[in-house]
């Protein structure tokens, strides 16, 4: 049942501890693989990621420069040359779709990482510190939580958004963190109730050490599961913002495609090849993240529950 050890040096103990981590990662992967929905989500996501990475190879950048497409048929229905037809500027819809993967994913994931970091920091702090500082963190979280998300994002994006994707990342990141913070705070409180946190305190650990050595590792699994769900929300928000014209007009993303489609009369002309695919892509990506997030929660939760 136990691992046989030979030498007593710290080096080998670290190496074997690493081995244990590898083994527990394998166990996690096996458990995750049992959830068909989660696996499906991973596969879907991988497809998008690979396509996004290969975008310049599959569809060279010149293809979607309006200057180069002047001679292409406008709003043409799908044909052998253009599998998903063309938009109002003659650009291949398929090419646009694939090029749009990058901004969507990059913004989505970056903003979620910002939200995760902020949410974790403030969540653990508000759960750990039982003094004015903790109360401050808590109030801050509550305040941001109560502010309506979309209107705030709209306002911020209207003021800053048209300057490029990075502003969008910041805006989305700083509005998505309260949800994570609340979750982290609850988990922190539950973990802190365990005697080993008090023992860490008694051994002389500083607050920072207590939080990073003991609370954080216990909180991270839940945070990761929550973050994947946050990505879904962020991508949806980004699409909405792009649709109502609040993002960088030069960047190609699904939301702006939908905006352009409706602005150039695609619904009237029945150009389904222009209207449907961007929306479907958004749905699929959001679905992929949601499936992954839910599977992660189920896989990671039983372990948390038993501790």
């Amino acid at each position: 049942m136990s691992v046989e050890t030979a030498p007593m040096q710290v080096l080998s103990s670290r190496a074997i501890a690493r081995q244990r981590r590898v083994r527990s990662t394998k166990r996690f992967v096996e458990a995750f693989a049992q959830h068909k929905s989660g696996v499906l989500g991973v596969v879907m996501l991988l497809v998008f990621v690979v396509l996004g990475l290969l975008a310049p190879v599959l569809f060279p950048a010149e293809m979607i420069e309006p200057i180069n497409t002047v001679n292409n048929p406008r709003m043409a229905s799908p044909s052998a040359e253009f599998w998903l037809g063309t938009d109002e500027l003659g650009r291949s819809v398929l090419a646009l779709l694939v090029w749009a993967i990058r901004p969507s994913l990059i913004v989505g994931i970056s903003a979620s990482i910002i939200a995760m970091i902020l949410g974790t920091l403030l969540g653990i702090s508000s759960g750990h510190f039982r003094n004015w500082f903790g109360a401050l963190c808590e109030r801050l979280t509550d305040w941001f939580l109560v502010i309506p998300f979309l209107p705030l994002v709209i306002v911020l994006a209207a003021v800053f958004g048209q300057q490029g994707d990075w502003i969008l990342i910041v805006v989305l990141g700083i509005t998505a963190w309260p949800g994570t913070a609340r979750l982290v705070r609850a988990q922190t409180l539950s973990v802190e109730g365990r005697p080993y946190i008090e023992r860490a305190k008694v051994l002389g650990n500083s607050d920072w050490k207590q939080m990073s050595r003991h609370v954080l590792p216990n909180v991270m699994p839940l945070v990761i599961a929550n973050t994947t769900l946050t990505v879904a929300i962020v991508i949806l928000s980004q699409t909405t913002l792009a649709f109502i014209g609040l993002t960088d007009p030069n960047s190609v993303n699904w939301g702006s495609m939908l905006d352009n489609a409706s602005a150039s009369g695609a619904p009237l002309r029945g150009a389904w090849w222009y209207l449907l695919p961007p929306g479907i892509c958004v749905i699929l990506v959001v679905l992929a993240f949601t499936l992954i997030g839910r599977a992660l929660e189920v896989v990671l939760n039983p372990r948390l529950g038993s501790e």
């Binding site: 007593m8 023992r199 008694v202």
Partner: protein, 341 residues
């Protein structure tokens, strides 16, 4: 940063023979339903080097709060705690240094260990935090002292692979790795199997013998006190009601509460059980006069009245016991004014 050993080699050189001195300590908390809970309401206590002192009482008596205050985990409202004669400094640095000298062993060994940390990491945490040198050596020694031999076999185990008794030994090793002078144990064996208790208690006595560790054991178990304690301190509702050498207090209890407690201990068959009614009152509503008088069997059966102290019992609080370590004293009006008959 190396730890300076506070205990010099010549015991008589230190200013005070006591390792820990508690001076008129009062610790309060906001009560759960409003009001102030006076968890510790005036306690004097001295603990000498190498002594094993048992803090005994039921839940709500304040023994755990007292222990936590000695550890610096709770700030007192008034009164002082002194370590080797110097008052406790609650600044972060000073408190950290204090922690390398006074350690804690908690009740629940399973909860006390982070399930994600191996035994080695759990025991090494203390030395690492204090920047002590020779970490593997310290861990090895501590595990061996705690009875886990050979230590290397346990380095990479995880808590869930060990039994309850082994886990408690790991917790004790974690405390020993810092080479503390004082170990405070809060119900060290109550969540362990009966047949395993003896070993852990024997280990604690061994620590006193071989390492001169001073032990303060918080427990509700009088049998445990009989097994290992030099002195016993009985608490009720925030005050010490009786204290003295263990044999004297347990063979000849003076305070009615101690008498009642002893009588219901299942191991004492020969004594008629005095089962007190009700439970210990809320620390937010401490009775006037002697805080035990509403439940006191001597008040109920008329002995107090006959001795003429009933007024005192209901009106005046008995004096807070002084921190004398050698005598057997009780805070009871009946004891200080025995019936003349």
């Amino acid at each position: 940063m190396t730890t300076t050993s506070v205990s010099e080699s010549t015991p008589s050189a230190s200013a005070s023979p006591n390792v820990i001195e508690v001076d008129n300590l009062c610790v309060s908390f906001p009560g759960r339903r409003g009001g102030i809970a006076r968890a510790v309401d005036g306690v004097n206590l001295n603990v000498g080097r190498g002594e094993v002192v048992a803090l005994v009482g039921e839940s709500g008596c304040g023994k755990t709060t007292l222990a936590r205050s000695i550890l610096g985990l709770e700030r007192p409202e008034s009164g002082e705690i002194r370590f080797h004669g110097l008052p406790l400094n609650y600044g972060a640095k000073a408190l950290k240094k204090y922690r390398s000298n006074v350690q804690l062993v908690l009740q629940d060994p399973t909860g006390s260990l982070n399930p994600r940390h191996s035994v080695y990491e759990a025991v090494a945490e203390g030395p690492r935090t204090h920047g002590m040198d020779d970490e593997p050596g310290r861990v090895s020694r501590a595990l061996a002292q705690a009875g886990l031999r050979p230590p290397e076999r346990f380095f990479l185990r995880y808590p869930h692979e060990l039994s309850g008794g082994q886990r408690q030994r790991v917790v004790i090793a974690g405390a020993l790795a810092l080479e503390p002078e004082v170990i405070i144990a809060d119900e060290p064996v109550s969540s362990l199997d009966a047949s395993v208790r003896g070993e852990i208690l024997a280990l604690m006595l061994k620590l006193r013998e071989e390492l001169e560790v001073t032990l303060l054991v918080v427990t509700h178990d009088l049998g445990l006190a009989w097994n290992i304690a030099d002195r016993i301190v009985v608490m009720y509702l925030g005050r010490v009601v009786e204290e003295g050498p263990t044999e004297q207090v347990l063979n000849d209890p003076q305070h009615p509460y101690t008498k009642a407690l002893l009588s219901v201990v299942p191991e004492m068959e020969q004594v008629e059980a005095i089962v007190l009614t009700g439970e210990a009152p809320d620390p937010t509503k401490i009775p006037s006069g002697c805080r035990f008088h509403p439940r006191c069997q001597k008040v109920k059966d008329g002995t107090a009245e006959a001795a003429g102290v009933l007024d005192k019992c209901m009106g005046t609080s008995p004096l807070v016991l002084p921190p004398d370590a050698t005598q057997h004293v009780a805070a009871c009006h009946l004891v200080t004014n025995p019936p003349s008959a």
